[in-house]
Homo-oligomer: 166 residues x 2
């Protein structure tokens, strides 16, 4: 059970370069929770390069100078709604849950979205993650269950598969 | 039925400013097909401003100088996979389907993804859009049905809802 004392001790701030390894540790922890640790093919070196080039932003929650949660996000666009901010990962390390850190990270993320004049924020949740679903519904987010994700590893795609006409 | 003669007549190119109204017409047509025309709150003026500011890119397919298809996309990031290119919309106007335009647009999109060193391309498909699902599986894309979309209209969110601890 998390110590309630921790609650007043966390801070939320934009990531700096030295936070990158701790951010990666959080991502690995979530991948383990989502039962797909082998799906993570990134590493802290890749993160640092891509973060420096602006591919994503991170908000970090810290307690006693240790990263205990992250919100990893980037700008996106909806042809229907306009400017969007996409939350790729919202993670609170297990022993720090229930203290308001997830909500504080989400608030900070939405504040960043507002600064960019993004009209909509979007993210995804696993269909079996009941606790997260309840949380998102509680804050007024809308769940949309009718879409499937389609993904393609870029390098495995050959342009010469030209026998398909659509 | 589409005239097969059209097949050799289309071109694919990156959008220019004067293409914006035709791009919006394509988006409206798809929204109608997906039975949600009222969900479109953008317009060509918003598109132009956001496109000029780099929020998204568009590839346009043209036949006889008319836009007959689009691929609207932007960079994104996966904490698990790294650099991503996200395809928000892939549209071929109805009378031009079956001629290879959708495949050509997808090829051009993936070529752009490769140029950016994006390791993964992602998009979404409605669960009842069988024809699109078959097409995506045919080109080797993977369908992931276990995630739900969560969306929040930024302006409707109040940060003072602070009684939720997660």
């Amino acid at each position: 059970m998390a110590d309630k004392q921790k609650q007043s001790n966390f801070t939320i701030a934009k990531a700096t370069e030295k936070d990158i390894p701790g951010i990666f540790d959080c991502v690995k922890e979530l991948a383990l929770f989502e039962m797909a640790p082998e799906a993570v093919i990134t590493n802290p070196v890749v993160y640092l390069e891509d973060w420096l080039k602006g591919w994503f932003e991170v908000l970090v929650a810290k307690s006693d100078d240790r990263i205990v949660g992250i919100a990893l996000y980037h700008p996106a666009y909806s042809s229907w709604k306009g400017r969007m901010m996409y939350l790729d990962d919202l993670i609170v390390t297990e022993s720090y849950r229930g203290l308001g850190i997830g909500k504080a990270l989400l608030d900070a993320f939405i504040t960043e979205a507002k600064k960019s004049n993004a009209v909509i924020c979007k993210w995804q949740v696993l269909d079996w993650n009941k606790e997260a679903v309840v949380f998102y519904e509680k804050i007024g987010a809308e769940l949309d269950k009718g879409w499937w994700n389609v993904k393609l590893m870029t390098l495995s795609y050959s342009l010469w598969q030209s026998d398909i006409a659509v």
